[in-house]
């Protein structure tokens, strides 16, 4: 099935119906394995047991940027290729991305208090992720503010692409500025600096959360397609009512004029 075939919403709905149960099952299994491995991971020699927060914080932090990346590609799909499902994908991803970003901020804050002695510091990494969270909220507000989905889609697509500038800033903030946040320890030149006992559970949790995103995203896209179907049917219903009431008024006026004659 090609990308063009998926432009047909009915075909896309058929695909999601087949795929969603499998994706949900795989997500649950991988999450269970990841949580089990996280529980068994040893304490860090410096951080002690608080290192376990990493297994939940890092996947959410990765996804906060990954989801915006998905929305940026979808925005290109809206503006350049005008793919019918591109803006559906972008709109459906925003609340999920906002939730992951919120979790990255919250768990980072809860990890920071025992390790740094503070819940929050206005350093480059934390501030740029907070900006990302606010941009997610802004996009969701924009989608709600404009009634016509196609008009909202174009405005949201431009905003999303402009906001994508923040992604490299988040990624390299720990290298460009002197921050409280530690530098990259997994995706870095020269390979990961993490021991396997931490790296394996972290990667399993990252894949599990990515699968969770894909599952939730497909389900939210399905809902958005149905919402648009409801909207177009309601508009058809309203135009029929308006047309029949116009006909009724017209025939009443005709009868009245006949009666007067």
């Amino acid at each position: 099935m090609s990308l063009i075939d998926l432009a047909n919403p009915t075909r896309f709905l058929a695909l999601t119906a087949r795929v969603l149960p499998w994706l949900a099952g795989a997500t649950v299994i991988l999450l269970a394995i990841g949580l089990y491995q996280s529980a068994l991971a040893p304490d860090d020699y410096q951080q002690g047991a608080t290192v376990k927060i990493m297994f939940i914080h890092v996947p959410n932090a990765w996804l906060s940027m990954f989801v915006w990346g998905v929305m940026s590609i979808a925005s290109l799909g809206t503006l350049v290729w005008r793919h019918p499902l591109a803006d559906v994908a972008a709109k459906a991803a925003a609340p999920i991305g906002a939730a992951f970003t919120f979790l990255a901020l919250l768990t980072g804050s809860l990890w920071g208090r025992p390790m740094w002695g503070t819940y929050w510091e206005w350093d480059a990494r934390l501030t740029s992720v907070l900006i990302l969270f606010l941009m997610y909220l802004g996009l969701m507000a924009l989608w709600r503010a404009v009634d016509d989905p196609s008009r909202a889609a174009r405005a949201a697509a431009v905003l999303t692409l402009v906001g994508a500038i923040n992604l490299p800033i988040i990624k390299f903030s720990v290298d460009w500025w002197n921050t409280l946040h530690q530098p990259a320890s997994v995706m870095r030149m020269g390979g990961s600096s993490l021991d396997k006992s931490f790296l394996i559970p972290l990667l399993v949790m990252a894949i599990a959360f990515t699968l969770l995103f894909v599952t939730l995203h497909l389900a939210a896209m399905r809902n958005e397609i149905l919402r648009r179907r409801v909207r177009s049917l309601q508009m058809m219903q309203a135009s029929r009512v308006a047309f029949s009431s116009e006909l009724g008024t017209g025939s009443r006026e005709e009868n009245a004029s006949k009666g007067a004659a």
Binding site: A14, G48, I53, P95, L216, R240
Partner: protein
């Protein structure tokens, strides 16, 4: 086997609990939204509104789930 979380157990447990809560809220919101949309489509179907293709408003959700 009891897991020892040390002096910062509350921070670790709160992190995992918050993540679980947010994920449950997301799943609940998506499931409720799906039910709400399919119910609205059924209502439209009952009131005789059909799609331009002539198909019932609810055929896709019912056939596919």
């Amino acid at each position: 086997m009891m897991m020892s979380l040390g002096p910062y157990a509350s921070f670790i447990v709160t992190s995992y609990a918050a993540a679980a809560l947010v994920v449950v809220i997301l799943i609940g919101w998506i499931v409720l939204d799906y039910r709400s949309q399919t119910e609205r489509l059924r209502e439209l179907d009952r009131s005789g509104v059909t799609r331009r293709s002539g198909r019932s408003a609810v055929d896709t959700p019912r056939q596919l789930t």
